[in-house]
């Protein structure tokens, strides 16, 4: 059997599991112990098959179902296979975690959740496989609806409902844009196969319109500014494994779509396409990271961080498009590789972080950062594994997050002179912004990890928190292992993305990387730049051991446990001391002050005379206030105007008919 059959079999397997879980609607044990692990196994299978398919020639298949004359066409090529790897990775770990996670009902029967979950998995897989516009759209929207249903699992909460609504609305509007995009791409041929779309040569103006629509449509799904508003609402509302899947995998399907349309179907375009993506990407990255530092809810923090990461990925794609437009294939390959590596890297660490929040949520029932703290002592497994994710999220070596950051900065730096002076001036600025974003991501991650896991527990109930169960640990370990192992072996990643970049921009990094062995990453020659994570880790490790050796070996100080120093005052009770710690708001305060223009802040400050002082600060998104609300108001105002048509008076209605008739007659006469 060839790869595509296996992949279809796996997707079918998920659908089968979905159906099976409908049969055991309320049997939590069966769903948790059998169905989710089986789903995870299929995810692993997908990963294996996709890894093999990535290095094989493209394969096509046709299903019997579909439109008349347009059966569903499927195809797996290097690009698709890469994203199937992403899906496989995400699903495998998340399903393992879910096996332990869904022990109690989340507002919806476990069987139903499992149904929606597995349909969601199959839809994502088929989105990547789709080889015609119809199949793509069907799967795309199935993915959206199934994830919507997962988001609204706990629909008894009003906040969850409104989050779900916003999500599906923006997803649908995005899908509408995609529909128009495909409408343009098919160019009146009525043939929606991608192979046909690829072969058509569109008028440049039309292809730019199609590009714009694709950016809008995929941007809405990926959470690009200013279409990001659903993301920080929906991700916190969903059960944590679902947040993990949505953030780590589903957003990537939008990236896949963007690449498929811009670089595969349209085969690149004028240089300013890249600039558009670059600008949107950077805006998202900056806005995402700044907002994530000031959040006080852990999953919202991560959701904003996802916006940031998507922004970085799109920045990389934008750069690749620009280089591609100027025929600089090597540089385009570098930038694209950076983006693609980041796709996988983000999948690993963001899943890890979201699943970590899931474990915390289960153990404490608390999602507000202001009421967490000190969990490293009661939940060591989760804490240490999440630490790996947080460090990767901060873009620190030797974890996987650093690889993509490194590649991206390299592609900026190695920019030789572009034939456009404007761009030449722009590139350094962009590089600076990227550097700033990455540094701020570190800030956010320190806040995330520090406030949840370190310090004193801010609530008494946190002392009773229990560590994650075996299945959950397994899921976390899968991702944490990936974060570290891939961080140490970036050459594996380069191998994996090489066929993709070759396919899309006509060059790959693998040969350059091969030249220096698998330990060293040097995409453009050793003398220009190199990064050897294994040596790096060994270096740090050896030096640290050296420090320990010096400290322990030569000198003989003893170690004593004592209460923390209380600035000379009598030691406070633990409870009081916990309240003295920096709160989540406090930790974000400097950023809030520096980037004040980003936010719409409303404060409620206590007066000196208040007997029970209250401090409240509400941070809102300016884009929400200045773009979305006016649009909503405009729609309502139009609706009010239109509503006047229906006055209830039959004479008026007759007049409409009469005038319509007259106008039509006049038209005929003319």
């Amino acid at each position: 059997m060839i790869h595509i059959d296996w992949i279809l079999l796996i997707a079918g397997g998920w659908l089968l599991l979905a159906t099976a879980s409908l049969l055991v609607l309320r049997a939590t044990r069966i769903v948790a112990r059998w169905i989710f692990p089986a789903g995870a196994a299929l995810g692993l299978g997908l990963l294996v098959v996709a890894l093999d398919a990535a290095f094989s020639p493209a394969e096509v298949a046709e299903l019997v179902i579909g439109l008349p004359g347009l059966p569903m066409h499927l195809r797996v090529d290097a690009l698709g296979a890469y994203f199937l790897v992403v899906i496989g990775v995400g699903v495998c770990g998340t399903s393992l975690f879910s096996a332990g996670y869904f022990r109690t009902e989340e507002g919806t029967a476990p069987g139903l959740l499992s149904f929606e979950y597995h349909v969601f998995l199959a839809a994502m897989t088929l989105v990547v496989l789709a080889d015609d516009a119809y199949t793509f759209m069907v799967m795309w929207e199935t993915m959206a609806v199934s994830s919507y249903l997962l988001v609204t699992a706990n629909h008894r909460l009003a906040s969850v409902r409104s989050a779900g609504y916003l999500y599906l609305l923006i997803a649908h509007i995005g899908a509408i844009a995609l529909l128009m995009c495909f409408g343009i791409l098919q160019d009146n041929t009525g043939d929606y196969r991608f192979s046909n779309l690829r072969s058509l040569r569109l008028d440049p103006a039309w292809s730019s319109v199609a590009f714009g629509l694709a950016v809008f449509g995929f941007g809405a799904k990926a959470g690009l500014v200013p279409l990001h508003v659903w993301l920080p609402e929906a991700h916190p509302a969903a059960p944590s494994p679902v947040s993990a899947l949505m953030s780590a995998v589903m957003l990537k399907t939008a990236i896949y779509g963007l690449l498929r349309v811009c670089l595969d179907i349209l085969q690149g375009g004028p240089w300013w396409w890249g600039m558009v993506l670059l600008a949107l990407g950077l805006a998202s990255a900056l806005l995402g990271v700044v907002f994530s530092t000031v959040q006080t809810e852990m999953k919202r923090l991560l959701a904003y961080s996802s916006i940031e990461n998507i922004g970085l990925i799109v920045t990389g794609i934008g750069l690749a498009l620009t280089f591609h437009a100027y025929g600089m294939t090597a540089l385009a390959a570098l930038a694209l590789s950076a983006a693609l590596v980041h796709v996988l890297a983000h999948t690993f660490y963001k899943s890890l972080l979201f699943l970590g929040t899931g474990a915390v949520l289960h153990a404490t029932g608390e999602r507000n950062l202001g009421k967490l703290g000190g969990l490293i002592r009661s939940m060591p497994w989760v804490a240490w594994l999440v630490l790996a994710g947080a460090l990767a999220g901060a873009g620190l070596p030797p974890f996987v997050g650093f690889i993509s950051e490194w590649l991206l900065l390299q592609s900026f730096l190695l920019t030789t002179i572009l034939p456009n002076s404007f761009l030449n001036m722009l590139i350094p600025l962009v590089a600076a912004a990227v550097a700033l974003v990455v540094a701020l991501a570190g800030y956010a991650m320190v806040k995330f990890f520090g406030v949840i896991f370190l310090g004193q527990p801010r609530e008494d109930k946190l002392l009773q928190a229990h560590d994650a169960g075996a299945w959950e640990r397994l899921g976390l370990l899968w991702f944490a292992g990936g974060v570290l192992v891939l961080g140490l072996m970036p050459t594996l990643l380069i191998e994996l993305v090489d066929p993709v970049t070759r396919r899309l921009v006509g060059a790959g990094l693998a040969p350059a990387v091969h030249a220096n062995g698998w330990l060293l990453l040097a995409p453009s020659g050793l003398e220009r730049a190199s990064y050897g994570p294994v040596a790096f880790l060994c270096g740090v490790g050896a030096a640290t051991l050296l420090g320990v050796f010096i400290a322990r070996g030569f000198f003989h100080g003893t170690l004593r446990r004592a209460a923390a120093w209380a600035c000379g005052m009598a030691p406070l009770p633990v409870r009081e001391q916990a309240r003295l710690q920096d709160s989540a708001e406090g930790f974000g305060q400097p950023i809030r002050q520096i980037f004040e223009t980003f936010f719409h802040v409303s404060r409620e400050l206590p007066a000196p005379s208040d007997a029970r002082p209250r401090y409240r600060v509400l941070i809102e998104d300016r884009i929400w206030l200045s773009a979305y609300l006016p649009i909503a108001r405009a729609v309502d105002a139009t609706a009010r105007l239109v509503g006047r048509l229906q006055q209830g008076r039959i004479s008026i209605y007759l007049l409409y008919s009469f005038l319509t008739l007259l106008v039509m007659l006049l038209l005929v006469r003319a």
């Binding site: 550097a435 540094a439 520090g450």
Partner: protein, 315 residues
């Protein structure tokens, strides 16, 4: 990896470990002289380290293992940083493991560890110190990266050894972008090494502390490791600055013997650098913490302007 490379690498590490406290002592001495105080001896930092190593370490009850690992991790990071920065030779086997970007990442890693450790105990000052340190870090880090990029653009490389070599070899010429980068780098170094005007390493007033607040809970050998690591960091920064902006006198691959001559040149350059640092610290006053972001943003902007100038002049 050649034998001479290995020797140079070991020599560099040894030099850094041994010499870093000396540099700190030299700066302190100069500053005391400039401020008309009686100067401590040059080996004062060594004495402090020795004293700390002999004291008992008191660890807070609530501290997790992270708290105890952090000092060593920071020490390890700084040692590696010193190992990959070409001080006396550019033929360094470890240099391929990390280029300029990874170097910045290395500093960030150390900072993150320390900030997390400071939050671990759960005291008011630990968290405050962590927050302030990360605040400085998020501005200083991109600024540092940008200054390094200024040089990278000239040398078409981000490999430190290669950058230094190229800077060393190129014919002497005025490079305006480097001037911007140099100023930016100075500012960043001051901030990163907790010197006045950003932070006062000698302060004991909790509310103004940054670095001291981070290490408030540490004592004994852990504090010693941190102090040593801080000295290493100052050494590393000084060396990068000197190597990139005043690269003359560093030994290259093809002339291993030049290392012998490189050492005195380095000592000389460090001495001059120490004096200038002391001078800056003497003539400026510590600024309020809220001014620090502006100060660092200036550095960031200067570095970016440096990049732009480089592009504009069409290097």
């Amino acid at each position: 990896m050649t034998l001479s490379g290995a020797v140079a690498q070991l020599l560099e590490i040894a030099l850094a470990l041994a010499g870093a406290p000396l540099l700190l002592g030299w700066v302190d001495q100069c500053r005391a002289r400039l401020q008309n105080r009686s100067a401590p001896p040059l080996v004062q930092p060594y004495r402090v380290l020795r004293k700390l190593f002999h004291k008992e370490s008191v660890v807070a009850d609530s501290a997790s293992p992270l708290f105890r690992i952090a000092p060593y991790a920071k020490f390890g990071c700084m040692t590696l940083a010193c190992a990959i920065i070409p001080t006396v030779s550019t033929d360094l086997p470890l240099a391929t493991a990390a280029d300029a970007i990874a170097l910045v990442g290395l500093f960030a890693l150390a900072r993150t560890f320390l900030a997390l450790a400071a939050m671990d105990v759960g005291t008011a000052f630990g968290g405050m110190g962590a927050r302030r340190d990360m605040l400085i870090g998020f501005l200083a880090e991109p600024a540092l990266l940008m200054t390094l990029f200024c040089v990278s653009l000239i040398t078409h490389s981000t490999s430190l050894a290669n950058m230094v070599e190229t800077m060393n070899r190129r014919p002497f010429g005025l490079e305006p972008s480097l001037a911007f980068a140099g100023i930016a780098f100075t500012i960043v170094s001051l901030a990163e090494n907790t010197r006045i005007p950003v932070d006062n390493p000698a302060t004991h007033l909790e509310l103004t502390m940054i670095h001291e607040a981070l290490v408030l809970e540490y004592s004994g050998r852990h504090l010693a490791m941190l102090e040593w690591a801080a000295a290493l960091k100052l050494f590393a920064y000084s060396c990068i600055g000197l190597a990139l902006f005043f690269p003359w006198g560093i030994a290259e691959i093809d002339s291993p013997l030049a290392m012998i001559t490189a050492l005195p040149v380095l000592v000389f350059k460090l001495a001059i650098g120490g004096v200038s640092l002391a001078l800056i610290e003497t003539i400026s006053a510590k600024m309020r913490i809220f001014r620090v972001p502006e100060f660092l943003a200036t550095a960031f902007l200067l570095a970016v302007i440096g990049l732009l100038v480089h592009q504009l002049l069409g290097a």
